[in-house]
Symmetry: C2
Subunit: 502 residues, 2 copies
C-alpha cells in the first residue's frame, strides 16, 4: 500500500520537475536571443507553466500525499522522505499565507520591480519608497504566519540557507569583518598599490572565448551535458543533469568579465552536472542552498581562478592566445593587477576583499528592517552611514546606493548573506581539500583539474539537496562553519598582492 | 450565460496553446544544439506536455464545452465557432478510436519508426514489413471508426488538406502528370542539357549566410519576430506570431541547399508571422493546411526564387558576395544550371519538374493500400513499377526506394499529396497576383518584395486556419484548383532552361 502511494507521489513530483524544466528552458531562451516581439506570447507560457506548478505544489492531492506519507514516514526510502520534506516545506510556505494576501503580494512585487527600474534610472528613492514600505509590511506579516523561534529574520534566512541563523551569522560576520578591516588597513598603510592599468587592453571576443573554453575543459565542465552562450546578465541554469547551460558576456575592453565570469558560472554548472542519478526527477536534484551553490562558483573563480598557482600555470597560454597584448606584462604584475582591492559603491563590481563588506551592510539593514528596528524611510541614510563605516565612502546618489540591487523590490529578504557564506564555505572546502589532496599545486599546474572536481562531487555535488549546508560543512571538514580559512587565504593573498610582510 | 461559457472555453484553449508553444520551443531547442546528454530528461518534458495537451483535448471538460457551445452556436463569435469546430474535429479523431486501440497504435508507431530506421540502413524491407502491415491494418480500421463518404482515403486526406478528395486529386494529378511528361519529353528530345557542373564550387558558410539573410530581408521576414539558426534537417516553427524561427543547413560544396532552403523556410515563416492578431491564442493561428503552408514556402523558393527575374535582380549581388567563385559564370548559364531537371530516385533531392511525379507515385500507392487494392508485401514491386513508369528508372535498393520516407512508419497516410498541391496553389496564387500587381518584375528587380508579401498576407496569411484550402483558392482566384497555371509556368521555364522553342 505505502509502496503504491510512494510511487504515485514520485510520479506526481516528476511531473512537476518536468514542468520546471520546461519553464527553465523558456527563461534560458528569453535571455539568450528570443525575438523581442515574441515576449507577449511567451509571458502566457510562463504564466501557464508557473500556475500549473504552483497548483500542483498546493493542491489537495499534495495535501493528501503529505498527510498519508507522513503516517508511514519510517517505511519510505530516503529519497522519498527528503522529497516529502521539501514538498511539505513548500506547501507550508504557500499555504500558511491567506490566498488573498498571497495574490496581493505577487501583484505588489511585480509592480515594485517596475517601479524600482524607473526609480533607479531616475535616482528617485521617494518614488520607490511606498512600494518597499508595503513589501516590508507584508513580509513582516508573513513571518508571523510562518512563525519563528529566536529571530524573525531566521525564518527568511532559512528559505535560502536552511539551518543558518542570525546567531550563526552575527558571530562569523563579526570575525570576517574585523579580519578584512585589518587586511585593508595593511594594504593601505604598508602595501604597494598594484597597477591595474596594465589590464586596459582590447582583447577580441574570439580570444576571450578560446581561453574561457580551455579553462572550462580543464575544470571538467562537460560540454556534452551543457553549452556556453552569450547574454547580458550571465547565469548558469541546470535544465537537467545532462543539460546545464552557462552564459557569459564579452567586453572587449575588459577581458576579466568573460574570463572570470565563465569560470564562475562553470563552477555552478559543474555542481548541477554532478548530482547523483538517484536524485533526478525530484527537487533534491538542486543545490543544497544558495550559499553552497555560490561556494562552488567562488571556489573556481576566487579560490582557484584568482590564485597565483592558477596564473603561474595558465599565464603563458593566456599570453599566447591574446598575443601580443600581454607580451610585456610580467606574471606577477598581471596577477597583482587582477587582484587589486578598492573601496567601491557597487556590490556587483566589488573585489574579493571588499565584497563581503557589501553583503554585511545589506544583512544588517535587512535584519533591522524585518525586526522593526529600521523603517524604509530611514533606509537611504542608514545605507550611507554603513558604507561610510565599512568602506569609508558614501554613495553620491540613491542609484549608486540603496537602489542598486533588485532583491528588495522582489521581496527577497534573507538572500544576500548566502553570497558571503559561499565564499566562507569555499575557503573551508579548499582547506580540507588541501589536507586530503597533497599535490594540489601540481594539479593546478596540469591540464586536468578533475581531481578537484572529483573531490567536490564526492563531498558536495552528489548530495544535491539531501543535506543542509552546515551538514555538508560538518560532514566534509569535521567542524562547523569556520571563517578563519577565508581570512587566512585573504591575508596570504593580499600580502603577496600588496607586497607587505606580515 | 453563453458569454461566460465562451470566455471559459477560450481561456481553456489559450492554456492548451501555451502548452503547445512550450512544446514547440523544446523541439526547436532539441534540433538546434541541445546537449546530447540532456535528451533523456527532455523526453520526460515532452511526455508531460504532450500528455497534458492530449488530456485537455479529450477531457470531459472539453466534451462539455463542445456539447454546450453547440447548443448556442449561432450566438458565438466567428473565432469561437471556428475554434469550436477545430476542437471538435480533434476530439472526434481521438475519441472515435477505442482508447485501448489508440494506445496500441501509439506504441506501434514508435516501434515502427525505430524498425524503419534500421531497415532503411540495412536495405531490408522484410524487417519493416510486419510493422507496416500492422500499421496499415489499424489505419484501415480507424478509417471505419472515423467514417467516410466516397473513398476511404478521403478521410485521411481531410486530416491534412481539409476538403480535398480523391475525386479532386485524381483529376488534377492526371493533368499535371501528362503536362510534366510532355515537358520532360521536350527537354529530352529537343532541349540542350544545362551544365550543372559550373555550380560545383566551394562557398563559405559565412558568404552563404550573408546572401540568404539579404534575401530574407527583401522577402520581408521580420528578424524582430524570428531568428535563423543551424540544424541538420531544416524547418520553420512558429512559437507565436512574434517568434517564428527558421533553420538551415550549410554545405560549403553545395550552396543551393542553404540558399534555397532558407528562402523556402522563410516562406513558411512569413506565413506564421502574419496571422491576424485576433487568431492568437487559438488553434486558428495555424496554417490553413499542409498544402497551403507548402504553397507559401514554394512560392518563394520555386516561383520567385528560382525564376529568371529573381536571378537577373540578384545575381550581381550573389557574385559579389561569393567573389570570385562565379566571376566567369554567365547569368543565363547559372540560371539554367540551377533549374536542371533529371530523373532521380530520392524525393527530397528531386527538382521542381520531377518532384510532383514522386508525390503522385506515393499518392497512388497509398490510395491502393488504404482501399485494400494493394498489400504491403507487394509494395516494393509496385513502387519499382511506378518509378519505371513515371521516371524511367527503377530503384537499385529498398533504401533508395520504398524505405526512403519516414511517413508511413509514422502512420502518416494522406500527407504526401499536400506537397504537390502546395506547388499548384503557389502557381495559381502567382498567376492571380500578376493580374493584380502589374509591375511584378519591377518589384522583383527591387530590394523590397513586400508588395508580394502584402498581397499574400491579405489573401492568405491573415486568415490562418479560418478558411479551408480550396476556399482560399476560390476566394482569391475566383475559380477552383486549376493545375494549368503550374503547367504554364513549368513549360515557359523549361523552354528557357532547355533552350527549345515551343
Amino acid at each position: 500500500m505505502v509502496e503504491t502511494l510512494e510511487a504515485e507521489f514520485l510520479a506526481y513530483i516528476k511531473k512537476m520537475e518536468a514542468l520546471e524544466e520546461a519553464l527553465a528552458l523558456v527563461y534560458w531562451d528569453l535571455r539568450t536571443g528570443a525575438p523581442a516581439k515574441g515576449m507577449e506570447g511567451r509571458s502566457d507560457v510562463i504564466g501557464v507553466l508557473s500556475e500549473e506548478i504552483f497548483n500542483m505544489q498546493t493542491s489537495e492531492e499534495m495535501a493528501a500525499f503529505i498527510a498519508e506519507l507522513n503516517l508511514n514516514k519510517e517505511n519510505l526510502s530516503e529519497i522519498t522522505r527528503k522529497t516529502l520534506e521539501e514538498s511539505q516545506k513548500n506547501y507550508d510556505l504557500n499555504k500558511k499565507i491567506p490566498s488573498k494576501e498571497y495574490a496581493e503580494y505577487t501583484k505588489l512585487v511585480a509592480q515594485a520591480e517596475t517601479a524600482w527600474t524607473t526609480a533607479r534610472e531616475q535616482n528617485d528613492f521617494a518614488a520607490f519608497e511606498p512600494f518597499l514600505t508595503k513589501i516590508l509590511e507584508m513580509k513582516r506579516k508573513f513571518v508571523e504566519y510562518w512563525g519563528y523561534d529566536e529571530n524573525k529574520y531566521d525564518t527568511l534566512l532559512d528559505q535560502y540557507e536552511p539551518g543558518v541563523t542570525v546567531a550563526v551569522l552575527d558571530s562569523v560576520f563579526e570575525k570576517v569583518r574585523d579580519g578584512i578591516m585589518a587586511i585593508r588597513e595593511k594594504n593601505a598603510t604598508k602595501g604597494i598599490n598594484p597597477d591595474a592599468s596594465i589590464l586596459n587592453t582590447k582583447i577580441s571576443k574570439a580570444k576571450q572565448k578560446e581561453f574561457s573554453i580551455r579553462i572550462l575543459n580543464k575544470m571538467g565542465f562537460d560540454f556534452e551535458a551543457g553549452r556556453l552562450d552569450e547574454t547580458v546578465h550571465p547565469f548558469a541554469t541546470g535544465l537537467n543533469t545532462g543539460d546545464v547551460r552557462i552564459t557569459t558576456r564579452y567586453n572587449e575592453n575588459d577581458f576579466k568579465m568573460a574570463v572570470f565570469g565563465t569560470i564562475h558560472e562553470g563552477g555552478h554548472a559543474i555542481y548541477e552536472q554532478n548530482f547523483a542519478a538517484k536524485l533526478v526527477g525530484t527537487p533534491l536534484a538542486n543545490g543544497a542552498s544558495m550559499g553552497i551553490h555560490e561556494s562552488q562558483s567562488l571556489f573556481y573563480e576566487i579560490i582557484i581562478g584568482s590564485s597565483l598557482a592558477f596564473w603561474k600555470s595558465n599565464y603563458a597560454d593566456f599570453q599566447a592566445i591574446t598575443k601580443p597584448a600581454f607580451d610585456a606584462v610580467k606574471l606577477e604584475d598581471f596577477y597583482r593587477a587582477v587582484n587589486i582591492s578598492e573601496s567601491s559603491l557597487i556590490r556587483i563590481e566589488a573585489d574579493t576583499l571588499t565584497y563581503p563588506l557589501h553583503i554585511m551592510i545589506r544583512y544588517e539593514l535587512e535584519k533591522a528592517l524585518i525586526n522593526g528596528d529600521l523603517e524604509v524611510k530611514d533606509l537611504p541614510k542608514a545605507w550611507g552611514d554603513k558604507y561610510e563605516e565599512y568602506l569609508g565612502i558614501r554613495p553620491d546618489s540613491d542609484t549608486n546606493g540603496v537602489l542598486q540591487d533588485i532583491h528588495w523590490a522582489g521581496g527577497d529578504f534573507g538572500y544576500f548573506p548566502s553570497y558571503a557564506l559561499g565564499l566562507m564555505y569555499a575557503a573551508q572546502f579548499y582547506h580540507q581539500m588541501q589536507q586530503e589532496i597533497p599535490n594540489m599545486d601540481a594539479i593546478i599546474a596540469s591540464d586536468d583539474y578533475t581531481p578537484l572536481k572529483t573531490w567536490l562531487t564526492e563531498q558536495v555535488h552528489q548530495f544535491g539537496k539531501t543535506k543542509k549546508p552546515l551538514e555538508i560543512i560538518t560532514d566534509t571538514t569535521g567542524e562547523g562553519l569556520n571563517p578563519n580559512y577565508l581570512l587566512d587565504l585573504l591575508e596570504k593573498r593580499y600580502a603577496y598582492v600588496y607586497q607587505f610582510t606580515e
